[in-house]
């Protein structure tokens, strides 16, 4: 197997491979970008990405792209809340993003994102994660899988990609293979699946188990294939030890920090910060707590009534994450992204909630060493139509990759088939420091 085909995970348990192959990557990227004027965007210096996923479809008009108020009772389209100014003159957000408003100079709400995907969650979730329509000839990797593949992990004892949420096909690494896949955690108090011992397995019992296992697995090492599995068995026993699992112990944080981040979603963001600081390249954090308003971000009908609680939870977690990373000096190295499958229209449905709208909606970038401007792009009075050139999902992915120092013009390979890393996406150059 040539070095470029080795999965990150393989490299992870092979110290020599790690330095060798990792060293190759930026060189390849640099040479490719030099050759292609289309991608002469300066590559950013961020090393990690925290991708906050607002499953269901965040209403741009009620959050990052507020407009004059409407009224569900009168069937008058418009914002559900009041609008407040932010740290960036001329940029305003909804009243429930009060704390984020104060740090909006570290944030850019990209307000003219669009895609043509049909009005269905799974398909749109897939599109925003992969930047591609579904295909029967290839399995496209998620943006997390791509970053894992390109960046690997910053440390031999941490995985490149972690999901705090549920596994699904759109988060999968596709043709890049399981080596670019994720570990996942469904709750911050649960630890990563597979690496947390059952509570009643005491230290003594674990010692007894491992001692007996050591005696019985001697047979395995005689066979070269079984030996490979035996090696990852040894690795997994190490990972289940305290050095890795303590990353998931939020009790190590001071209570003031924990309180600043807020509820379960905030705690997930705090966990994400701990993970990227330990070397994880990409953490997807799902904001999937549908008991807060009943529907999560999919605010049809009654879901609208308590949407503000969801927005406030996002507000405190996001602003705390930005300020905490900044205080620790790692905001420029950590790109924060808010992803969601589509936006929502300004008009209200029969139950006072909102339907789906993918033709123009907001995705958000923060930190990561970008030149932030509070907002990018202008929309009409209903926040439903772009008045400035739209940003496609591939463009958004290209921006994300470029910020992480990954050449967005690069080609990946599914076997012999060349696959551009994005589907013709071009980064938003204005967000990068001038050459």
């Amino acid at each position: 197997m040539s070095p470029d085909r080795r999965s990150r995970r393989e490299i992870l348990h092979d110290g020599a491979g790690l330095t060798g192959a990792a060293a190759l990557l930026p060189a390849v990227a640099a040479s490719a970008s030099a050759a292609d004027p289309q991608t002469s965007t300066p590559l950013g210096k961020a090393r990690h990405c925290i991708f906050l996923w607002l499953g269901g479809g965040m209403a741009q008009i009620d959050t990052f792209d507020p407009k004059p108020k409407g009224d569900p009772k009168l069937k008058k389209p418009g914002c559900y809340y009041d609008t407040i100014p932010t740290a960036v003159p001329g940029v305003s957000v909804s009243e429930h993003l009060e704390r984020t408003a104060r740090v909006m100079d570290r944030v850019t709400a990209v307000r003219t994102v669009f895609h043509g995907t049909v009005d269905e969650h799974a398909t749109a979730v897939h599109y925003v994660h992969t930047g591609r329509a579904i295909s029967e000839t290839i399995r496209y990797p998620s943006i997390g899988g791509i970053v894992a593949h390109e960046r690997g992990s910053g440390s031999p004892t941490t995985p490149p990609y972690v999901v705090i949420g549920y596994p699904n096909a759109s988060r999968d690494p596709g043709f890049l293979g399981a080596g670019s896949g994720y570990l996942y955690v469904t709750r911050t108090d649960a630890g990563p699946a597979g690496f947390v011992r059952h509570e009643d397995v005491t230290g003594d019992r674990q010692a007894r188990r491992e001692q007996l296992l050591a005696q019985l697995r001697r047979r395995a090492t005689a066979d070269p294939d079984v030996k490979q599995y035996d090696d990852v068995l040894a690795q997994s026993l190490r990972l289940a030890g305290p050095e890795f699992t303590r990353l998931f112990n939020l009790n190590e944080e001071s209570s003031s920090v924990r309180q600043a981040y807020g509820g379960e979603f905030g705690q997930r963001c705090l966990l994400a910060r701990r993970l990227v600081e330990s070397g994880v390249s990409f953490v997807e954090v799902s904001h999937n707590l549908n008991f807060i308003n009943g529907t999560g971000w999919d605010t049809h009908n009654e879901g609208q009534l308590n949407q503000h609680r969801l927005i406030r939870e996002l507000d405190s977690a996001l602003s705390a994450l930005i300020l905490d990373l900044e205080k620790r000096g790692s905001l420029d190295r950590t790109l924060i992204v808010i992803g969601t499958e589509f936006g929502r229209p300004a008009a209200f449905d029969a139950g006072g909630g909102r339907g789906h709208h993918a033709k123009c909606f907001s995705l958000v970038l923060a930190g990561g060493g970008l030149r932030h401007r509070g907002a990018w792009g202008e929309t009409d009075v209903l926040a439903q139509k772009a008045l400035t050139p739209g940003v496609s999902v591939p463009d958004f992915h290209a921006t994300l990759l470029a910020a992480l120092g990954i050449d967005p013009g690069k080609t990946l390979y599914d076997g012999a088939r060349p696959v551009p890393i994005t589907d013709g996406g071009r980064p938003i150059r204005e967000l990068f420091p001038k050459l």
Binding site: S7, E120, H121, P167, D223, F291
Partner: protein
């Protein structure tokens, strides 16, 4: 919620009122006309005259179907089969009627009616109790139901999604005619709902007693959890027999046709005999004679004392390099006019007219100039990964030394000795059943001293119904079977797994199975091959299917042709769309996505060409004449215009040898670990390592009537299959030793659960438990029995209330070992590289807890309770889990853990009786109730806890034993085929 609690009290009254009307106008009077047979319960399914809204028919039609039952307990209508035996949906809704003459003793009774849909019960035409179904929302905002009737300490609670009511009944002691009617299925808009019964039942209890029994003329089935479960298991076995019979009857209708086809196949084989195996040396099995002929020169070398010659440098270094980096474009597709797949072609060179390889003269060889080039525009291979300096040096040196090119590498390889009996037993059982031998099977085989015991074992396993399981998993990947629990999206298909399963269970000839596949008839969402025809959200589903059929059946890769002519393949866009049109039975329009904007073709001379324009209509046509000729007798087609039948016939015609050879190669690879042709799915630039053997096997397969079992028996009885495994490329290529194979994900899961004595204790694989949504928005996969039945709980909405925690515990393990949970495309090969998450889940995952927990319902607990010396327990553990005896060292190590407390390990207490409690259920219809999330989180925690430990063993010793089980579960040898 209050209205639910009140409902039962009023049910009898409401029932009287409603049925009083209904009885005059239709159903009940019609039903009571025919007399129920003595001793049995007659079920009638009425399809005509049933309104689409949930309303009782005023003029129900005649029974479309009728069958016998034994009691008023119903959860399944046996499938209906059409054509050659594929499942077909019944209309939804339809009327289900059950009637029987039952004699209850004189006295007062309580009568319980449960059903999924509206239901009514009459005695001699007089209403007893009924169940109206109130209108419900299906958008997720229903409340969690807590309206369980308390009917006694042991009575089973109502099942998820069902409704219930009780009424009083006075019996005179005389026989009475009982009639139950219920509406099954319904409509959501225009879409039919899944026709499901839930647990539709009638049960009675004498007044003053709280012991309910299913109403029955002839048997007593207690309505307790164990009583119902035993009844259900018995009836499921009965339905399996009934359905197998129905399929057999359906197939009989075309028996003459298929006999004619198979006679034609046999005749063709007679007229075109296969190459004979080389004369017998020491081997007698034809396969071994073919294989050992290619090992012969080596054997001679070794005998004459000459040092065994290794492969030439060309075989070791150059051929693999050319194959990996050049032949994609420079073989059959001859990019730039150049081929590098033979010495002559390489010397001739390409369009430049100069030799690519000039033996002895690297400086005159364009190959070297191109690979060493510095200009990205000119350099080969194109792309960001040029050859390394070492590779270029190797090529240069090889050319300088004369570019020796050997066509058939001769290698010195000694065949491995035969594997021992325990290893053989484990290997062949895994291959044929997908799981490991049971303790009983292992004891029996290892005690068998007959010289033909291996052949007998193979025959026994070929007859085992478990034979179907590994083949289903295999074809799920091959055909991209991709049904979803919730909304059909992302290339989702129907759950045609059930058709696959029944096909292999029935030992269907493979040409018939492929014909059914291509006809795509029957149920789309109930498990018929029509489900293969779906690809949700795909703008050209039949193009996707044509592509899948090409790789699966003909080993021709056309995926590039979806958008452009293939640079690495001869196939054109039109080939694929022609084929898709044959499946469509009509011209197919090229979708807008099936193109590549010219800007994307890149700076160099484009290697791809777009030859079809979006919108263009492509007619049905067979253009792949080189793979199969469109020739067969007219009588092979019932309808000459049916292009699907034509396609099926030409692919499976015996003289079109490609199909049989591709199938033989697939079977060979499954058992031998390596194909006679690699890669399996794309033969364009591949050649068989043993061409005569491939041909011989294909003739055997065709001559046997496309019988997979005959083919399997041939391969498994060979010495080549039965040799000790060792990973060595040369030995593996020549089948002198099979490579070491890792268990598939399904095998890891099934063999772990079997060896550790547990069944899957998981939720029904269904989000729409109350059947409120049409199949396109929710399927019901039931409770899985084998690993292939699981579905990926793809939770795009990230809602905790839409999880199935127990399902996820198993699928996370399956995924870690390479299971393709979401099969958006066909899988040529799964990845088997070891990753830390695999042992991690076996060590700490939820399933690990289930498997190592000694609970009352674990078979291993029973083993531990046997009164016998500790040595025998340890022997059984090794034999049952690893199919081998422990070594002395292993025995000592395990005994040293288990000895303390062994003598006093048994507590003289009875097994705990599982607590019976009502289970509020979460379904799509109520998942937005905040309580739904709480329930799921609690369920996830309970799943993680595992079953409660037995009290029949002392805790200290039980923990020791669980530690031993954990160790055995985590042994690396468990995840490899011996």
């Amino acid at each position: 919620m209050g209205r639910w609690k009140r409902l039962p009290m009023h049910a009898a009254v409401v029932g009287l009122a409603l049925l009083g009307v209904a009885a005059r106008v239709g159903g009940a009077t019609a039903a009571s006309r025919s007399v129920a047979p003595a001793g049995g319960v007659t079920v009638e399914l009425v399809e005509q005259g049933v309104p689409l809204e949930k309303q009782w028919p005023t003029h129900p039609g005649p029974a479309a179907e009728s069958y016998e039952e034994t009691a008023f307990g119903f959860f399944h209508e046996p499938w209906r089969y059409i054509s050659t035996g594929v499942r077909e949906d019944r209309p939804s809704p339809h009327l289900f009627r059950a009637k029987a003459r039952v004699t209850l003793p004189a006295g007062s009774f309580r009568v319980l009616l449960r059903a999924r849909g509206p239901a009514r019960l009459t005695v001699d035409g007089q209403p007893v109790v009924d169940l109206p179904v109130p209108p419900e929302r299906t958008d997720g905002h229903n409340p969690i139901r807590h309206d369980f009737l308390e009917l006694g300490p042991e009575t089973r609670y109502r099942a998820a999604g069902d409704h219930e009511a009780v009424a009083d009944h006075q019996s005179t002691g005389a026989p009475r005619e009982w009639v139950l009617e219920t509406l099954v299925g319904g409509r959501a808009g225009k879409e039919p709902l899944r026709p499901e019964l839930g647990e539709t039942l009638v049960a009675v209890a004498a007044k003053g007693s709280d012991r309910f029994h299913l109403l029955s003329p002839a048997r007593r089935v207690p309505l307790t959890d164990p009583g119902w479960e035993a009844y259900r298991a018995e009836r499921e076995a009965h339905y399996r027999r009934v359905e197998a019979g129905r399929r057999a009857v359906a197939r009989l209708a075309s028996a003459d046709y298929w006999a004619m086809r198979h006679t034609a196949a046999r005749d063709w084989v007679k007229q075109h005999p296969a190459p004979l195996p080389p004369p017998a040396g020491p081997a007698t099995h034809p396969i071994d004679r073919f294989l050992e002929a290619q090992l012969k020169p080596t054997v001679r070398n070794a005998a004459s004392g000459a040092s065994p010659s290794l492969a030439t440098p060309f075989d070791r270094e150059i051929r693999p390099l050319l194959k990996a980096r050049c032949l994609n474009c420079h073989a059959s597709t001859a990019s730039g006019g150049l081929r590098l797949d033979s010495a002559a072609a390489a010397r001739k060179g390409g369009a430049s007219g100069r030799p690519a390889i000039a033996p002895g003269h690297p400086e005159a060889s364009t190959l070297i100039a191109r690979v060493a080039g510095t200009s990205a525009e000119h350099r080969m291979p194109p792309g960001p990964n040029p050859l390394t300096p070492a590779e270029i040096a190797r090529l240069t040196e090889w050319i300088r030394r004369g570019a020796t090119w050997t066509d058939d590498p001769v290698v010195a390889v000694r065949p491995s000795p035969l594997i021992d009996d325990p290893g053989f037993l484990r290997r062949v059982t895994l291959d044929l059943t997908g799981t490991v031998p049971t303790l009983t099977e292992a004891r029996a085989f290892l005690a068998d001293r007959r010289p033909d015991r291996r052949a007998r074992l193979i025959d026994r396993l070929l007859d085992d119904p478990r034979w179907a399981d590994p083949w289903v998993a295999y074809w799920q990947d091959l055909l991209a079977e991709n049904p979803n629990l919730v909304n059909s999206t992302l290339n989702n298909t129907g759950p045609f797994r059930w058709w696959l399963y029944e096909s292999f269970l029935d030992r269907k000839p493979l040409d018939l199975m492929v014909t059914e596949l291509i006809r795509m008839e029957g149920s789309r969402f109930g498990g018929g091959p029509a489900g293969f025809g779906l690809a949700a959200m795909n703008d050209a589903p039949l193009v996707a299917k044509a592509n899948i059929l090409g790789t699966a059946l003909l080993a021709t890769e056309m995926k590039c042709a979806r958008c452009h002519d293939a640079p690495y393949h001869a196939s054109k866009q039109s080939d694929l769309f022609n084929l898709a049109a044959m499946l469509a039975r009509a011209p197919v329009a090229v979708p807008i996505t099936s193109s590549v904007p010219s800007a994307k073709l890149g700076g160099r001379t484009p290697r791809i060409k777009v030859t079809l324009q979006p919108g263009e209509k492509v007619p049905p046509h067979w253009s792949l004449e080189s793979l199969a000729r469109n020739e067969f007798p007219n009588r092979w087609l019932a309808q000459p215009d049916d292009t699907r039948d034509r396609l099926a016939a030409l692919i499976t015609a015996p003289w079109n040898e490609r199909f049989a050879e591709v199938m033989v190669n697939r079977v060979w690879r499954r058992y031998m670990g390596r194909g006679l042709v690699e890669p399996l799915h794309d033969w364009e630039n591949a050649r068989p390592s043993h061409p005569t053997l491939l041909k011989w096997l294909a003739r055997e397969f065709v001559g046997s009537g496309y019988d997979l079992r005959h083919l399997s028996r041939l391969i498994l009885t060979s010495r080549a299959y039965q040799r000790q495994s060792r990973t060595n490329p040369e030995a593996n290529r020549l089948f002198a030793a099979p490579p070491r194979r890792r268990l598939s994900a399904e095998q890891v899961v099934d063999s772990s659960f079997d060896a550790f004595g547990r069944k899957f204790d998981v939720e029904p694989l269904c989000i729409d438990l109350d059947g409120a949504r049409p199949p396109i928005n929710g399927l019901n996969f039931g409770k899985p029995r084998r690993a292939w039945e699981f579905v990926y709980s793809s939770n795009e909405r990230d809602r905790p209330s839409l999880t199935l925690p127990r399902n996820e515990a198993v699928t996370e393990l399956l995924l870690a070992f390479g299971w393709t949970g979401s099969r958006q495309d066909a899988q040529a090969d799964r990845r088997v590289e070891p990753m830390a998450i695999q042992p991690a889940l076996l060590a700490n995952g939820t399933v690990s807890r289930w498997l190592t927990r000694l609970s009352d319902d674990s078979r291993l607990t029973a083993l531990c309770l046997q009164n016998r010396p500790i040595e025998l327990l340890v022997e059984d553990l090794f034999l049952g889990i690893l199919t081998r005896k422990p070594t002395d060292e292993e025995r000592r190590a395990v005994i040293s853990v288990l000895k303390p407390g062994y003598a006093t390990r048994v507590n003289a207490v009875a097994a705990a009786v599982p607590a019976r409690k009502p289970q509020p259920y979460v379904a799509w219809s109520n998942h937005l109730d905040p309580e739904a999330t709480d329930i799921r989180i609690r369920e996830a925690a309970e799943a993680r806890q595992g079953p409660p430990p037995t009290r029949r063993l002392t805790p200290a010793w039980r923990e020791r034993m669980e530690d031993v089980l954990w160790t055995l579960l985590n042994l690396p040898e468990r995840v490899y085929v011996p």
